[in-house]
């Protein structure tokens, strides 16, 4: 056989293979949908979610000074866009609870003698506690806090030294209350100190590894049950199963139970490796983490069952899982700061169990938060789980068509 005929025969075979593949692809409608759907979804999600300008960090204020000046400063902080003043609190303990539960990313502490120290020229200090478990947010808080601090100082300094200036406009009255005598002991009239909490060195691994617990579980748990019912269909055991008296809910829960154990083993493994390889601290109770992980695992397994009831082949199930996995990873605050996402993306994020689980896992591991302070997150996950399980049960038919 000549080289030419050999090459042309090979070409025919290659093209025959390509044509066959193309025909199969075109006939697999769901897959064809993914060809269009995945890039669209990915583009939209990445485009909107990737935004490293952190804005609107939920901030609470512990204003012990309760002065007009302190209120003005809080107002100005809120106007920086980095801080979103969502409330005021009464005690340091409450401040810690807000940080622990992730309801606040920053706490502004204004001491009782703030106003007095300013006017006396003793150098007043405002502390901002930043939740550094997320280094990106902590950095943004530090930059904004320090930036505002130096601008405030610049405005206050002339006032302290007696010069008539913009500071007078900030503090139109009150001067009289403290009298004219000032004992200037500090170089700076006012200082804003940002204290990174929980992860003082702002190490990325400390932030990422606990988050990975959630991400890895999302991926593995969902895939396990996503294949569960489809596999019965593909292997033919489905027909045996539906001819038995087993109820739909029993199938669903029976499919989930073993993986709850598997999931907890995975949690342990990731934490162990995180501690060994990345020195990720475990501040809180592992029992609390387990309590938080249980509904999360169940919610991911239930979502997998939804996928499995809808998909016709294991291939489709894998692709559908990916469809859910993608927004989970991008909109949960795992990779990109939740605070930096647009409102609509945050709403979607609030629905996803991973968003809430990340708050739990970071709260417990990095901040030592007790699970009670994260009850709201657990409730949100439970709501999702119940909805998913109900949907999976309803879409699962003990029928062949």
């Amino acid at each position: 056989m000549s080289a030419f005929t050999q090459i042309s025969a090979s070409l025919v075979r290659t093209l025959a293979m390509a044509r066959k593949e193309f025909r199969q692809l075109v006939r697999d409608r769901p897959t064809l949908g993914f060809v269009v759907g995945i890039p669209t979804l990915q583009l939209i999600l990445f485009g909107y979610a990737i935004n490293l300008d952190v804005r609107h960090v939920p901030t609470v204020v512990l204003d012990r000074s309760q002065s007009e000046l302190s209120r003005r400063i809080v107002g100005e902080l809120g106007a920086t866009q980095t801080f979103d003043v969502v409330g005021s609190i009464e005690s340091e303990r409450a401040a810690i609870r807000m940080l622990e539960s992730g309801r606040a990313g920053a706490v502004v502490l204004i001491p009782p003698d703030f106003e007095q120290r300013i006017y006396r020229g003793r150098g007043a200090e405002i502390s901002i506690l930043a939740d550094a478990s997320n280094p990106t947010v902590a950095t943004a808080v530090a930059l904004a806090g320090q930036g505002y601090g130096s601008s405030l100082n610049a405005r206050m300094q002339p006032f302290i030294t007696g010069a008539d200036s913009a500071a007078l406009r900030l503090v139109p009255e009150g001067r009289e209350r403290f009298g004219p005598d000032r004992d200037l002991v500090r170089g700076e009239a006012v200082r804003i100190e940002v204290l990174p909490f929980y992860n003082p060195e702002r190490r990325t691994a400390v932030f990422i590894v606990p988050g990975l617990v959630g991400v890895i579980l999302t991926m593995t748990m969902m895939l396990m049950t996503a294949l569960a019912i489809v596999r019965e269909r593909e292997r033919g055991t489905f027909e045996f199963l539906i001819a038995t008296p087993i109820r739909r809910g029993e199938v669903m829960i029976g499919k989930i139970l073993p993986y709850l154990v598997v999931g907890h083993i995975q949690v342990g493994l990731i934490l162990l490796l995180g501690a060994l390889l990345f020195s990720v601290p475990i501040q809180g109770s592992l029992f609390d983490l387990g309590v938080g992980a249980l509904p999360f695992l169940a919610s991911m397994l239930s979502m997998g069952l939804v996928v499995s009831s809808v998909a016709r082949t294991q291939f489709q199930a894998t692709q559908l899982s990916f469809f859910f996995f993608l927004p989970s990873m991008l909109l949960s605050g795992f990779m990109f700061p939740f605070e930096a996402m647009p409102r609509a993306a945050q709403w979607i994020g609030e629905v996803l169990p991973l968003t809430h689980f990340l708050r739990i896992v970071r709260g417990v591991l990095l901040k030592g938060a007790p699970i009670e302070s994260l009850a709201w997150e657990v409730a949100a996950i439970l709501a999702f789980m119940i909805a998913a399980l109900a949907l999976a049960t309803l879409t699962f038919r003990k029928r062949l068509e």
């Binding site: 033919g236 055991t237 489905f238 027909e239 038995t244 008296p245 087993i246 003990k398 029928r399 062949l400």
Partner: protein
Amino acid sequence: MTPPADGDAIVAARRVSRRFGAVVAVDEVSFTVRRGEIFGCLGPNGSGKSTLMRMLLGLLAPSAGNFEVLGYTVPPDAERLRPSVGYMTQRFSLYADLSVRENLEFASEIFGVSLRGRRARVDRAIEEFGLGSYAGTRAESLSGGWKQRLALATATIHDPELLVLDEPTAGVDPENRRDFWEKLFELANAGRTILVSTHYMDEAARCHRLLVLRDGKRAALDSPGALTGHLAGRALDVESDSPDRAIAALRRFDLVRSTTQLGSTVHVLLHPDAPDASDAADAVGAFLAAEEISAARVRPSSANLEDVFVALLHGEVLDREDAA
């Protein structure tokens, strides 16, 4: 085998139809199955046997009509029927990666065999079906015949009143098929009712009664004997040195409906308008002689189920009035 008495119907199909898109898989089929009988469902591939059985079990919704099975109306009450029915699917549908014993245990638990009796029941099934030496073997490594025994053992683990077997012996060697049918008769003699589909004529012949399906329609329903009885006097056997030439010639002869070669013998089904076989034999012999086909010996023979099938295929009506 004594056929069960009339009247005690435990399954009734009432004008059941099922369409898949434009295709009518089952077309207004009615029949009744009596308690304790082996009721066969015979038809070629695609004649609607599996669809009919799946609908009867409530696994597939009929487009029209319904069933009364063990006193329950199907589809609506299908779930309540489950504990009393054993089903063996056409394709092996047990868990390939579980062992024989594990499959049986799983089925016994799901079918609600009582906790105390469960172990003994599984042991008994293993012994009864001779699965002892394979108890720990994974189902996937069993041969066809053993898989099928396991499937029957599983389908009967909860001692169901009714067994529905969809082509249970497809792809199984003759010896295993014999064993399997012995088992079915044991079950029938113990009072179980068995609904079995097949496309093997020898198996169909062993049923108490046969429902013959053609293109989704009920073509006939009667005992195998009665069905072949309708064709009495219509079959001939022709022995010849050159059966191929004999067949070619016979197909041109207007008294002949169909021919089947069995070695050097050609089995002939005569046309319904033809005279009785004893008379037609001479005519056929003369015809073959005229066609110069040597050493042809023609004698009347008895009709078999294949003849029934051919006759039905040509639209002949062999049905008695029965349940309509």
